[in-house]
Each structure stands twice: as structure tokens, then as C-alpha cells.
């Protein structure tokens, strides 16, 4: 990152080779659309080039920062492109349809289970209530807002906000004390 901050183009290419695939996976996880995810990857590397000087001395873990940027850009794009379709609707014949909730077996929770590096986090996540844990995962990986979580999980907005806040704080206590 220091070399990029000094305007070293080769360093940017090296970083791209090193983390581009990971960041694309993050964008794809949120967007579920390859073309949009590639666009986000572009935007992220433009940002890295333009803001490296601002960040290189501040970040002990640039990958974490890059993942946050990628997720935020992906969520922004999702917001811009997500059609305003309600979760439940009736078609012309009066038949009821609904968007399915994502298959939980495909969430990274399963991956975490078998991941040595994630075991500690997994234990702390697993200690959360099932619905609260799901809310965190939907927000983190699907980019859902509080309102969308409320609609998806059929819970009042205030409850969702409280769940998220409480879950995050419980997670912090668990991770910090057991680390």
C-alpha cells in the first residue's frame, strides 16, 4: 500500500493479482451478478489508487479495509439497481408468490465451521440466538438494510435494530474476552 501511495503502478497490479479474486468474491456474494461485481472491483481499485496515501499508514490490515470498501460499493450498486419488488405479491391470476429466503446451507456459516481460522468467530456467532445470527449474516453477506431485514424476517424494524445492535455487542464481548 505504501508503494501504491507513492504512485507505483506495478504495486497496484501486484495488489490486484493478490486480492482481486478475493474482493470479486465479496462483491459477487452481495450482488449475485458477475458483471456488476466486476464493475465494483473496478471502482474499488480506482479508490485504492486515489486513496492509498490516506490509508497506508493507518491500516494494519489493508485486506479488511479493502473488503469493507468492496462490500460498501457492492451495497451501493445493489441499492441503485435493486428493483422495488415486494417480497410477497400476487400475479395476474391471483396466485401468491414470494421471494425465497436464501438457502442457509449456502451461507459462509458452513464454511466457517470447517475453517480453522474462523473457529473462534464461529463459536461466538453460534452462541447468538438463531434469528439474530441470521440477521447479521443477511446484513453482512446480502447487504440488507434494517428495513429489508425487517421485511425479510417479518419482524418490526425496532426489533431488528435492537437485534443487530445487541448481537454485535455480544459478539464483541465474546471475541474480546476469549481472544
Amino acid at each position: 500500500m505504501s508503494r501504491i501511495a507513492l504512485g507505483d503502478r506495478d504495486a497496484l497490479r501486484s495488489l490486484y493479482d493478490c486480492v482481486g479474486g478475493k474482493l470479486l468474491a465479496v462483491a459477487l456474494r452481495v450482488l449475485h451478478n458477475r458483471d456488476m461485481a466486476e464493475d465494483v472491483l473496478q471502482e474499488v481499485f480506482i479508490t485504492i489508487w486515489n486513496q492509498a496515501a490516506r490509508h497506508h499508514t493507518e491500516l494494519a490490515q489493508p485486506l479488511a479495509w479493502l473488503c469493507v470498501i468492496t462490500r460498501n460499493r457492492s451495497i451501493d450498486m445493489l441499492r441503485k439497481n435493486r428493483p422495488e419488488v415486494s417480497l410477497n405479491w400476487h400475479d395476474a391470476d391471483g396466485e401468491e408468490h414470494s421471494h425465497d429466503a436464501p438457502d442457509e446451507r449456502e451461507t459462509p456459516l458452513e464454511s466457517l465451521l470447517s475453517s480453522e481460522a474462523g473457529t473462534h468467530l464461529y463459536d461466538c456467532l453460534n452462541a447468538l440466538d438463531g434469528a439474530q445470527k441470521q440477521a447479521l449474516f443477511l446484513a453482512y453477506f446480502e447487504g440488507l438494510t434494517h428495513s429489508e431485514l425487517s421485511a425479510r424476517m417479518k419482524r418490526p424494524l425496532g426489533t431488528i435494530k435492537a437485534w443487530v445492535r445487541r448481537s454485535l455487542m455480544r459478539l464483541k464481548v465474546c471475541l474480546d474476552t476469549e481472544a
Partner: protein
Amino acid sequence: MNWHQHPDLINQLAAEYALGTLRGLARQRFETMMHKRPDVMHTSIAWQTRLSPLLETLPEVSPHESTWLKISSRLWQRVEAEKAPWWRRLLAPPLAALVLGLMMGAVLPSLWQARNDPEKLTQLPESYVGVLATQTGKPGLIVSSLRQGITVDIKQLAAVSIADGNTLYLWTVDKAGKLSPVGPVPNKKFSSVQLPEPAEKVFFSAVELAVSIEPVGLKPASPSQPFVYRGLCGKLWRTPAT
């Protein structure tokens, strides 16, 4: 309430930022504060680090080859199809620089007038004044010279970093886009340089001034790097030049 005065609120917002539920203006405000306050940045990083194992489990996906080409093209204009020299594309000034130049062009004469007796308006020194913006469109450099003078005064509003062995180099740009070298310029807040010829001859055809970074001691025929400053060249006199 100033949330940034309360560690508990900073912690909550940092957590929501890392999770992705902090949106819109709230997210922008948080990011701004994060870059101003090390403690906010520290809290934010701590949260990103806590959650990052979730992302480490995602299997990598190889980007399309075209994605890097688009990135490098956008950053450095490396489009092979482009036939014009790269500096040609830089001649269309960014809107910010144009607006800045126009504003300064409008404001500077007014300021001068305000400080002088109206009867002396015609006695204002006839001058060339260039207001140059940085690459990001911020005020960067004010270049001025008496119309018949041979000294150019330069005030640097935004510094640029220059590697050893290099110097700032001033150029004029005429209305056809042709670049002409003027000479090296010191990289300091205020400086004066002598022109090889009267300003009227050096700047007469200039509609823009631009500054690049060049190796010390060379007189380049064209800039070797993108301009670090660029902006309009104003002619501050009431009668058209003859």
C-alpha cells in the same frame, strides 16, 4: 448530539459500519470522522478485523482479464486505440478547473478595483494572471506577470511532492492546443522567475497555463508526465492587445 464524543456510540457505529448496515449520509459522516480521528479509525479497524474471518472463507473468483484493462485505462488513459498524444486529452480542462478559473477571473479584477480609487482604474498594471488547479480541481497555483515585464511571480496554494532530480516546469497552451515550454519553476510557496523574453511575447497566445514535473536541467519539447497544475491564462487589461 455529537456522537463522536461518546466512545459507546463510536463503537456502535463502527460495528454497524463493518457489518454494512450504516448507510447513506450516516456512513459518509462516519467515514469523514474516521479519517479525522485516529480513535474512530482504530475502533473501526478493530470491528473490520473481528468480522474479516467471515470473508476469508469465501472462495476466490478470478476476475475477467478485461477488468484490469479497464482499471488501468481509467487511471492512466492507456487505451491503445487512442492516437492522439496523451497530453492532448488533458487539454480539455476539468470542469472544476474551468469554474475556478472563471471565478478567479471575475473576482480578481473586482478585488483590485475595490482597493483602488475609481479614477485610477485605468492605471491598473496590465498583467497576465494564470489561476491553475491541481489534478483534483483544487486551487493550486497563481502565476502572474506584468504585461511588458520579464518577471513571473508564482504563488503556490497547494504543494506537490517532487522526487529528487526533478522540477516543476511551466508550459503555455494556445487556443489550438499547442504546448510551448516556458521554463522551470521552484516548488515553494512564493517564487519569482525571470522570463527569457517579455511576458507579452511569452504569454500572448496562451489561453491556458500548465505545469508538469520534468528532470532538472532539461528543456523538454513536450511534457513527460501528466500536468500537476493546469488552468486559464487571463489577460488583465481593458483594451484588446494589439
